[in-house]
């Protein structure tokens, strides 16, 4: 007599062992998956243990936040007091003290516009007008001289507004120029192509600082007698010319990504060169290059710090001025960390945004 084995109940579901799920599982697979990984984990933890506690002690526990410079000299910790005590000079430079609300409003306006432009649903023609009006209003607020605002010489501009002005205007003005050079470089006319290539390679081959030198010492010689242009505008021109060469290469990348069929299709319906570019090629090419353009904005923003070398008072230079004050001498790390934080936050948001755009705009072209 045989008895067939029939399983009448489903087999009991076994839970995975505790060592492969939950926190333990995560730690095992992410930190101690092999002897080498375990060694690396322990090494990193050891290094962090050496570095982080003293750093926290210096930056937070022993630190002073609202004291005078003299009290800071006595203390072992970080002297963050240098920031609140000099914040208005660091941010606004030599801008007249009682008028500093104006650059503040201008900056808030700029940041508001930037935030509003983040959403792609807002990318309409009206946004372009909003930007145009916004830029004019910002310029008016900074410069004054109209509507009862007292005029402020551009030589007095400084600090963060100057940094933002140089980078935002730099990119806005460089973009059309860059597109023109990119089109020139791909033109079939040899003379125009040569001029474009020469310009782009020449500018990309030299450091920005040599252009800034040129703007500060050579440019005045180029002008006819009696005409002078102030230093900030000269530096702005140098930054625009420099950025345009890089934009041109970015845009050229976009132009090269447009399939040949698009050009041929435009030709076949009889569009002229200008209409082909305006209606068919550039709208597609510029869309492709939006993320690298944001990257370009980031590097333009970082590069404006070089105007320190030709003695313009951007946010880095105002910080150094504070540091040369005997009361606050010796607290460079704290002040530089503060400025670095400003730059880091701006660039971090922009680069995150560019990464998000890259994902959203992926068309699989």
């Amino acid at each position: 007599m045989t008895e067939a084995y029939v399983q009448e109940k489903p087999a009991e579901v076994l839970k995975p062992p505790v060592t492969s799920v939950g926190i333990i599982g995560w730690v095992r697979s992410n930190l101690f998956s092999s002897w080498f990984n375990s060694f690396m984990t322990l090494l990193v933890i050891y290094l962090l243990w050496i570095i982080v506690p003293p750093l926290i002690r210096w930056a937070f526990i022993d630190s002073l936040w609202l004291s005078t410079g003299a009290e800071c000299q006595q203390s072992d910790g970080a002297c963050w007091s240098i920031i609140p005590a000099n914040i208005r000079f660091i941010i606004f430079g030599f801008y007249p003290y009682d008028q500093q609300w104006r650059p503040l409003v201008a900056m808030v306006l700029l940041i508001g516009l930037l935030f509003y432009s983040r959403d792609r649903n807002h990318w309409k023609k009206s946004l372009l007008y909003a930007w145009l009006i916004g830029l004019v209003v910002m310029g008016l607020l900074m410069k004054g001289g109209l509507f009862g605002l007292s005029a402020v010489e551009t030589t007095k501009w400084g600090g963060l507004p100057l940094t933002l002005t140089l980078s935002v205007f730099g990119l806005t003005a460089a973009y059309p120029l860059g597109i023109a050079f990119a089109l020139g470089r791909r033109s079939k006319m040899p003379a125009i192509k040569m001029i474009s290539i020469l310009y782009i390679e020449l500018i990309r081959g030299v450091p920005l600082i040599s252009l800034l030198f040129m703007s500060s010492v050579v440019f005045p010689l180029f002008l006819p007698e009696g005409v002078t242009i102030n230093k900030i505008i000269r530096a702005q021109v140098a930054i625009i010319l420099f950025t345009a060469a890089y934009i041109a290469e970015v845009v050229r990348g976009g132009l090269q990504a447009i399939p040949r069929g698009q050009y041929e299709a435009a030709d076949s319906i009889g569009l002229s060169y200008y209409l082909t570019m305006r209606l068919v090629i550039l709208p597609q090419a510029l869309k492709i290059v939006i993320p690298p353009s944001v990257q370009q904005l980031i590097s333009a923003f970082k590069d404006t710090s070089l105007v320190v070398i030709i003695a313009l008072f951007d946010v880095l230079r105002t910080t150094q001025t504070v540091l040369s004050d005997p009361k606050w001498m010796g607290f460079s790390p704290e002040a530089y960390i503060f400025v670095a934080l400003i730059y880091f936050l701006c660039c971090f948001f922009m680069s995150n945004y560019s990464r998000r755009l890259e994902r959203e705009l992926e068309t699989g072209l």
């Binding site: 125009i192 030299v206 980031i298 070398i309 460079s332």
Partner: protein, 397 residues
Amino acid sequence: MKKKADAAASKASGKVAFWYDPRKRSILYQLVVLAMVGLLGYYLVSNTQANLERQSIATGFGFLNKEAAFEIGESLISYSAADRYIRALFVGVLNTLLVSFIGIVLTVILGTIIGIARLSTNWLVSRLAAVYIEVFQDIPILLQLFFWYAFFYEILPGPRQALSPFNGVFLCNRGLVFAIPESHPAHVYMVVAFVAGCLSVFFLRRWARRRQARTGMTFPVFSVSVGILILLPLFAWLAGGTPTAMSVPELKGFNFQGGLNVSPEFTALLLGLVLYTAAFVAEAVRAGIQAVSKGQQEAAMSIGLRPNRILQLVILPQALRVIIPPLTSQMLSLTKNSSLAVAIGYPDFVSVAGTAINQTGQAIEGVAMIMLVYLFFSLSTSAFMNWYNKKMALVER
């Protein structure tokens, strides 16, 4: 309508009005553009000449032969204030090359390590690398240079309380001081032996490749090469009488004597450039490795290649093709960024040329020389890279 009819009519008769002929029209456009550029150039040049005459500034490169009359802090060749400008500028070029070369080597090493760490399966390591990349990319290089410069001058103690992280290495506000071997003729032999080793490795590789193509037999090129490169200098050292004397830095008075003293300016510049550029190189390395699809590795495994051969023959050639172009542009940007040395007082080319401009007032020549020197660096690098890219380019069917 009438125009079109005209055009059609003229086409039929074989004659086209020149503004309807694309070839002639493009010549016209080009002439207009050239004329505009020429006029602009003429305008600037004539203005400049008028200005120079009025301010009675001499033009030309004659000043290069005058006495420079300023000291330079660090120099690879002998230099004194009595030397001519041209020698001072040459010192500057050498300093730029020195910091760029050391910077590029260190950057590639550090960037590769961080790029690989970014892809590590170890969560802690990969997070740490990501934080490093994000932080150092987003802070302007100039600010980082100022920070390291302040680090040396404000945070580090004087020579008497110098930090000594390793035996024989001291870190203080006079810079980085470390022990080096006492100079001895055997070191020259070692360098000669090393160069000879490099040459023989080159020929060995060629021979092994030819033999493999002819007979199919492989040769352990890598291990033999490493052996040659280590053993030849070692023999030279033994033959030279095994000198072991080290020049160890010692505190005498207020500063260190002996050893090699690297100035705070140089160290701060190098540190800033390397840490900043390494973040970008790490991103390039990561992207390059990720660009090689997993299937490539699996395919190589399936035909029975050993792991090191897979890396050498399958992964690296493909990853390098993606990595090299951005890597080159990072090296160039490091060289160009080294011009920021002027901000922290390291005498690089821009800084020396700036001093020369201030002393002689010959701004145009000075700025032109700065641009030419950097253009020479960039153009020669990109010429080399174009050649290399062509050699490495994918040969498609």
